[in-house]
Symmetry: C2
Subunit: 111 residues, 2 copies
Amino acid sequence: MQTAAEIRLDRVFQALSDSTRRSILRRISRRELTVSEIAGPYDLTFAAVSKHLKVLEQASLIDRRKDGSFQMISLNPEAMKSADQWLRFYHQFWTARLESLKSLLEDKEKP
Amino acid sequence: MQTAAEIRLDRVFQALSDSTRRSILRRISRRELTVSEIAGPYDLTFAAVSKHLKVLEQASLIDRRKDGSFQMISLNPEAMKSADQWLRFYHQFWTARLESLKSLLEDKEKP
DNA sequence: TCTGCATTCAACCAAACAGTTGAATGTTGG
DNA sequence: CCAACATTCAACTGTTTGGTTGAATGCAGA
C-alpha cells in the first residue's frame, strides 16, 4: 500500500532529483520570477521549463500567482519540510558514525 | 554542466523517491540484513529487490559485506548528509514563513 | 481589433525505470 | 561432489521522464 504521505514524499524527492529543478528552486528562493525569467539561463525550450515547473508544482514545492499575462513563480517550502523530517531520523546515524570515528582517532593518540 | 556533486545528489534524491527503497533504508538502520531478509516483507521478486539495492548502492546509501553465501546490507548515512545539507539551506524559508504566520496571528489578537 | 508576447498543449521520441521470468553463478553442508 | 540455497544476470515489457517541435491560448497595448 502506498499511503498519501508516501506518495507526497515520493513526489518531493523525485522533483529534487534533477539538478535543473534544484537550481530553479534556489533561484526563486531569492525572489519570485516569471516563467521566462526562470527559463533564461538554461539551454532549454520554454516547454521543457514549463514541464519542470509542473513537476515542482505537483510536488507542492512552488506556488504560482497570475500577474496579467505573466506568471509569478515562488518557493513553497512546506513540502521540503517533509523531506527534511524524513531525513532527520537519520541524523543520529551520521553523527554516531562521526563520534565513533572521533573516538577512534582519540584512542590512537593515547599510547 | 553537471558537476560530480550534482550527479551524486541526483542519485541520492532519486534513490529516496521510492517508498520501497525508503522502507528498506529504515529497516536496515536497525540492524544489517541479508538480501532475503530485506525481500521478505515485500510482494516483489528477489530480482526486483536486488535492483532496488543496486540503486541504493549506486547512490552510496548502503554498504555490502560478504558473509559466506550471504550478503549483509547496512546503512551508509554519509550520502544522506549531502541531501540534508542541500535542504538545510531552505530551513530559513519555512521557519521564516512560520514566524510571519505567528506574528500575523499575534497582530490579530491585538485590537 | 489586431499584433505580439508569455505560456502551455499535443504529439512525438529516446532513454531510464520498475517490474517480470528463467537461466546462471557462487557458496556451503552433507 | 552435488544438492540446495542466496543472489544476480539477461532479456523482455509497459510506463515514466526529459526533451523536442509546432500549434494553440490568453492577455495587453497601440
